[in-house]
């Protein structure tokens, strides 16, 4: 089937400089490590990366960061990679910090065609600065805008050749949301099976969201990231 690509390079052909890219994962868990690795070899820059963290120092998205390919990062927890803070202090990267519930809900809203939504999270804090505030039934809320992107790079456990996806334990995290909110969605998986082999009741991401699938070559193990 046309969705299955032979290499990460082929899958990433459409990615260009200046793109907004959603990248799944909670730290390295559930991060599309093969696609990220290929992105570090691709001649692109000025990227906006939407991801909970920007990898770890020198790992995952941390490599892309150190190559100065990231113009802006949008996430909830940059503390886990000290290089992000150093770059920010030197004025080499823009950052937008969002509460984790807002980050995930904004991506969900983007995928569902909403413009934004009101939330109580962040009201009265520094992260509410510049955001519209309104009262609904006596409760204060702030407006958070939906997030949409050019590309989503996600990690799932299994795909069928149509692009249906199932996930594995806490490696699911942001991936199913990101699959809904980008023009081009590329998934890397441990195993690709024939249609009919995945239980329809277990499919988390239906195939209409997915544009390309590759087999994962870089995987997270107890010993760290290894090539397979």
């Amino acid at each position: 089937m046309a969705k299955q690509k032979h290499s990460a390079a082929e899958a990433l052909a459409a990615v260009k400089s200046g793109d907004v890219i959603l990248v799944g994962g909670f730290g390295l868990v559930g991060a599309p490590l093969t696609l990220i690795d290929e992105l570090t070899r691709k001649d692109v820059n000025g990227l906006t990366i939407v991801s909970n963290n920007l990898g770890e120092s020198g790992k995952g998205l941390g490599i892309l960061l150190n190559q100065n390919k990231i113009k802006k990062g949008i996430g909830s927890y940059f503390t886990s990679n000290r290089d992000v803070g150093d770059k920010y202090q030197r004025g080499e990267i823009e950052l937008e910090l969002l509460p984790q519930g807002t980050l995930s809900e904004s991506i969900r809203a983007g995928g569902a065609g909403l413009g934004g939504y009101y939330t109580t999270t962040g009201v009265g804090t520094d992260l509410a600065k510049g955001k519209e505030e309104r009262e609904i039934d006596g409760v204060r809320y702030i407006l958070e805008k939906a997030i949409r992107a050019d590309v989503a790079l996600i990690r799932a456990h299994k795909a069928d050749t149509l692009g249906n996806l199932v996930y594995y334990k806490t490696a699911r995290n942001f991936n199913p949301l990101m699959a809904t909110a980008a023009k081009t969605v590329i998934a890397e998986v441990d195993e690709i099976v024939e249609p009919g082999e995945l239980d329809p009741e277990a499919v988390i991401t239906p195939h209409l969201y997915v544009d390309a699938i590759i087999k994962a070559q870089q995987v997270l193990t107890k010993e760290g990231v290894v090539s397979r």
Binding site: G101, T170, F174, K222
Partner: protein
Amino acid sequence: MTTQISKHDIQHMIAKRVAKELKGPLTVNLGIGIPTLVAAYMEDDSIYLHTENGLLGVTDVEEPDVDPNLVNAGKLPVGEAVGASFFNSSDSFAMIRGGHVDVAILGALQVDETGVIANWAVPGKNIMGVGGAMDLLVGAKKVIVTMSHTAKDGKSKLLKECTYPITSTRSVDLIVTELAVFEVTDGKLRLAELMPGASIEDVREKTEAEFIEQ
């Protein structure tokens, strides 16, 4: 008499005291740091642990069963309980923001005398992580804070007013340090209990915030 207690012992003493506070059935979310130690002291098997990265039913895990794709909010390996479920990040935060989590246990950098906390940023330093803290403060039915009573420089972390950016305008419900347990009622701190080995003089000396003694 001043006895020097190690950081490890302080953290475990606080965790043990918080565990006593939890009576099931409850859904409890544990933050990073001291809160993760609370699980080891819980004896009630009708307490279900929720972790923001998508698991209800967190348990401890022994080395041979460690799975790199099964972690808690602090990215440490965990196990899955009988009856556990996995879900995506927005479902996880819908549980939190929608008021479905009973108790959140969080660390804090500072607490003011109305129970408002600061725990996500230090001005001028590279702490740029908010994670799920703001979501838990608006959504959890009860919030318990665990922290050392004083900062590394010896200054009180219970202040008249937070000098770091606040996490929410909502007051927490209970604060447990190595010296004392404070309850927050009607926007005031009340000393509920002295921790083992602590004296009221210690607490007065190391607490800048006003509190009610009784």
